[in-house]
Amino acid sequence: MLRISREIHDAIMAHARRDHPDEACGVVAGAAGSDEPARFVPMLNAARSPTFYEFDSADLLALYKEMDANDEQPVVIYHSHTATEAYPSRTDISYASEPDAHYVLVSTRSDEAEFRSFRIVEGEVTEEPVEVIA
């Protein structure tokens, strides 16, 4: 189960809409071990593509250093799909390498908000419920 604040949920959707038709991506950091997404960190999609996303490698290093210094971990790793459903693609699964993270997928293919969360561990995808809290 992913518990996430309304504010961060809406910020992720807004980022995805803003970057459409390219995919948007980012993380929500939280205190290590807390499983609470607290700090919204939108990232640039270095691929600037409607079908692929990748954190810029220098930005990625800076992000991990910052999280390390704050004793944080990436509680949520999110990205958008712009023409397909909010479900991990084969490429998403092959790259997924944070077994403790909630992989959030949103879709901007229509006006309807699609926001789903998954665990991806050793290539296996498990969807989990999302609870949006005040």
Partner: protein, 91 residues
């Protein structure tokens, strides 16, 4: 010659949970071979069968992505820090 190597969560199963380990070598290739000697299997997660860096990982020497500094031939000196991070990417 001591090089500090920072290990990401996903690969700490190879280092008994250690976030950082020491290694020796004057090139990145030599450091990875040394790492694999102490933590067998790690090399296979970093380098492909064709002896290229795996596209799923980023490796940095100090703050430079080694893709821009000579890849596996990147030279290292005492006190350098190697950071391994999984690429965050997808489709």
């Amino acid at each position: 010659m001591a090089i500090e190597v920072k290990i990401p969560t996903i690969l700490r199963t190879y280092t008994d949970g250690a976030k950082s380990v020491d290694a020796k070598g004057d090139t990145l290739a030599a450091v990875i071979d040394d790492l694999d000697g102490n933590h067998p299997g790690l090399k296979g997660r970093l380098i492909t069968d064709e002896a290229a860096l795996h596209r799923f990982v980023n490796i940095y020497v100090n703050d430079e992505d080694v893709r821009f500094t000579g890849s596996l031939e990147t030279t290292l000196k005492d006190g350098d820090v190697v950071t391994i991070l999984p690429a965050v990417a997808g489709g």
